[in-house]
Amino acid sequence: MENHNSHSPSHDSHGSMKSYVIGFVLSIILTIIPIAIVMNDMLSKQLTIIVILIMAGLQFVVQLFFFMHLKDEAKPRYNTMALVFGLIILLTVVAGSIWIMSYNVVG
């Protein structure tokens, strides 16, 4: 408990009102774009999937920087390390699944 002290002034930045609002607006925009495209059948199936994936990737970045404060982290950068490891696992999960499942297509 010693190091977990809610009374002393924290050295971690918790962001400002402005950055939270920007992050909030950005993530709403990034959510509305794919919904609009899907609901109105605006693009071909292939293109729709690509747009959704790009928006999801951007959403991820917005969350990390505006809400998770990745760039304000003090050393040692455990969060960044965890993120890098997480991305490696994510890549393995996605690429590995595509590779394995390409042999296992159901009729």
Partner: protein, 657 residues
């Protein structure tokens, strides 16, 4: 109306018509009455609530984890014995096929998720803060929440065998059998909700201990000076953090299939059941390393303590632990070589599987070299460690045999596989946690367990293990496959099956010896004279047993890997005791009822989802929301223990002034 209710209770709600289950229902009912009566008679309700149910103390949470896991070991063990009785004689119906399916499913789920995991978390809780010189874990509230989520998840899973029906689609619930088309009953819903609720607890524990280890070490304890058990916990918890979300998502997709009629894993409508198998093993394989890595840490501590030597190859041990936790994410497909993913996929995963055996081999040599020319003693924790090494080496070797993809087409789903994973899970995980339990028992309760009875239990466990599982390797090669309840006389499998069943009952007897050992040691309670029961090496032995609420009156300063041992050596060589810093008020977390209440709400919600009763889902969900709100607005969560109270406690414990 009333008649309808009775009909519902007898036909759908409670499982009826099986004498074994009726016996279980009666005994559960009787023991609940007995517990309620005892608590009321001895006026212990308030004590139970304030001292245990609402506690955030890591030592008490650890003890509750261990009690729960031993109860689950009993249940899983009874399942195992029932299966062995059924298999001892060909062509009998001791358990009919459906019941047998339910029993092997619950045996698997309970032993891994509700026995091994909580026993491991219990040891984490008790040992890690004491070994790193901390007052508690990083998030004590979250720690309590983790325990109660696990507990109520486990309860939700366990009620299924008396209410509604057990899951019976195997411990990993492969679709399409686990889909609504294959399992229209409620068992599979109990499975999903029980595991999901307890999974939240596991994930939270993983995060909690990573933060605790990274942020709350005593001054001077650099990462490379941590005790090896702490390293093993770190590697295990990192694996939990990345593996458990995969399980949650996979089971959630299965839930959407079952509840909303989606088609992720169905055979029609564009679904693909093989995707489930691919996803679940991305969690399932790291999971086996999650449970074995802490056992490696325990063995490292014990080997070093009872050889009176520094652990051999500290750096290589750390490297081995961390590389296992990394590589464990790259081997999952070896669980389904036979699914038909082509030669390239199988070759890749066969190689990664063989690679991961290398760091494990490194560890075995490190333990052997630690013992080499050490001053060895053999109390029960060391016995389990000695027994583990050959057992795990053989289990590991058969694992490498299974990793050879072409050969696996022969071994797959046979009793050879069953024997292999029981050998690594019992010989590695169970022996490891038993070793840890015997080793840290005096630290938890302030008395040692009776050595003589412990040795009986040890030998019975070991003999029973080999008698039970060695024949199963042979049975596997003779063609006996897993998961069927009957075989014909002319298969020639009976003799070895009888041997195997005898072995299982020897292990059951060994468990009874352990229960007797605990009861005997409580009855003839002999308080440990010091906090250092085994002449230990790490910080947990520098404080009284059991540890006071705040663990360390003064935060220790560490300058070497075996801090307490080095300090004792220094004093023995005529070194002066270090000057004591003045006591300061200690900042501690307050107890909270919210973790218990939120988990009860989750239980209610999960139970409602299983039966699809909106009138139960909604209040449960509201309960969860209210608890979260209440927690968000509660600011009074900590307090300080004043110096004079610390002085009084320390004086009563005979500690230094």
């Amino acid at each position: 109306m009333f008649q309808n209710l009775i009909d519902f209770l007898l036909n759908d709600f409670f499982i009826t018509g099986d004498p074994l289950i009726l016996g279980a229902q009666v005994s559960i009912g009787l023991s609940m009455v007995a517990v309620v009566f005892a608590l009321t008679y001895f006026k212990k309700w308030r004590w139970l609530w304030t001292e245990w149910l609402t506690t955030v103390d890591h030592k008490r949470i650890g003890i509750m984890y261990i009690i729960a896991s031993i109860l689950m070991l009993f249940r899983g063990g009874v399942d195992a014995l029932l299966m062995r009785v059924q298999l001892a004689v060909p062509q009998v119906e001791f358990l009919h096929a459906d019941h047998y399916n339910a029993i092997f499913t619950t045996h698997g789920v309970i032993m891994i998720l509700f026995m091994a995991m909580p026993l491991m978390f219990g040891l984490f809780n008790i040992v890690v803060p004491l070994q790193i010189g901390a007052r508690d874990v990083a998030y004590p509230f979250l720690n309590s929440l983790s325990f109660w989520m696990f507990f109520f998840g486990a309860m939700l899973f366990n009620v299924s065998f008396v209410i509604g029906g057990s899951p019976d689609a195997g411990w990993l619930a492969y679709p399409p059998l686990s889909e609504l088309s294959g399992s229209p009953g409620l068992g599979q819903d109990f499975y999903i909700w029980g595991i999901q609720i307890s999974g939240i607890g596991s994930l939270a524990t993983g995060i909690n201990f990573v933060v605790t280890i990274l942020k709350m070490r005593a001054p001077g304890m650099k990462l490379m000076k941590m005790p090896m058990f702490v390293w093993s916990v770190l590697s295990s918890c990192i694996t939990i953090m990345f593996a458990f979300p995969i399980l949650t998502v996979t089971l959630f997709l299965l839930f959407i299939d079952r509840y909303f009629g989606a088609h992720f894993f169905t055979l029609d409508g564009g679904g693909n059941p093989m995707m489930y198998i691919n996803l679940i093993w991305m969690w399932g394989h790291p999971e086996v390393y999650i449970v074995i890595l802490p056992a490696f840490g325990i063995f490292s501590e014990i080997v070093s303590a009872f050889s009176k030597k520094k652990l051999f190859g500290y750096k290589s041990m750390v490297f081995a632990l961390m590389s296992i936790s990394f590589f464990s994410f790259f081997t999952w497909a070896h669980h389904f070589f036979t699914m038909g993913s082509g030669a390239n996929v199988n070759a890749f995963f066969a190689v990664t599987t063989m690679l991961i055996a290398i760091p494990t081999g490194v560890k075995v040599f490190n333990w052997l070299f630690t013992m080499f020319r050490g001053k060895l003693t053999f109390p029960t924790p060391m016995l389990w460690t000695i027994a583990f090494i050959p057992c795990f080496v053989v289990g590991g070797m058969t694992g490498v045999m299974l990793s050879v993809a072409p050969a696996d087409f022969q071994f797959h789903n046979s009793y050879f596989l069953i024997a292999h994973f029981h050998q690594v899970l019992i010989g590695g995980v169970v022996f490891g946690y038993f070793a840890g339990l015997y080793y840290w028992w005096p630290k938890m309760f302030g008395f040692k367990l009776h050595e003589g009875l412990g040795k009986w239990a040890f030998w019975l466990w070991n003999i029973g293990f080999y008698v039970c599982f060695m024949p199963q390797y042979a049975l596997g090669l003779m063609g006996m496959t897993r998961r069927f309840n009957e075989y014909n006389f002319d298969m020639g499998w009976q003799p070895l099956n009888v041997v195997s069943t005898v072995g299982a009952f020897i292990m059951g007897l060994a468990f009874l010896f352990q229960v007797w050992q605990i009861a005997h040691s409580i009855k003839f309670y002999k308080k440990e004279p010091t906090g250092d029961s085994w002449d230990g090496r790490t910080l947990e032995w520098s404080i009284p047993s059991p540890a006071p609420l705040y663990n360390f009156a003064r935060v220790p300063v560490v300058d070497s890997e075996d801090a307490w041992w080095e300090e004792k050596q220094r004093l023995a060589n005529g070194g002066k005791p270090k000057p004591l810093a003045p006591l300061e008020p200690i900042h501690m977390p307050k107890n909270s009822a919210i973790p218990f209440l939120i988990s009860v709400s989750f239980f209610v919600m999960g139970f409602g989802f299983v039966w699809d009763w909106k009138w139960m889902i909604i209040p449960g969900a509201i309960g969860v929301a209210i608890c979260m709100l209440a927690r968000s607005f509660s600011y009074d969560t900590d307090y300080y223990i004043p110096v004079d109270e610390i002085e009084r406690t320390e004086a009563a414990l005979g500690g230094t002034k």
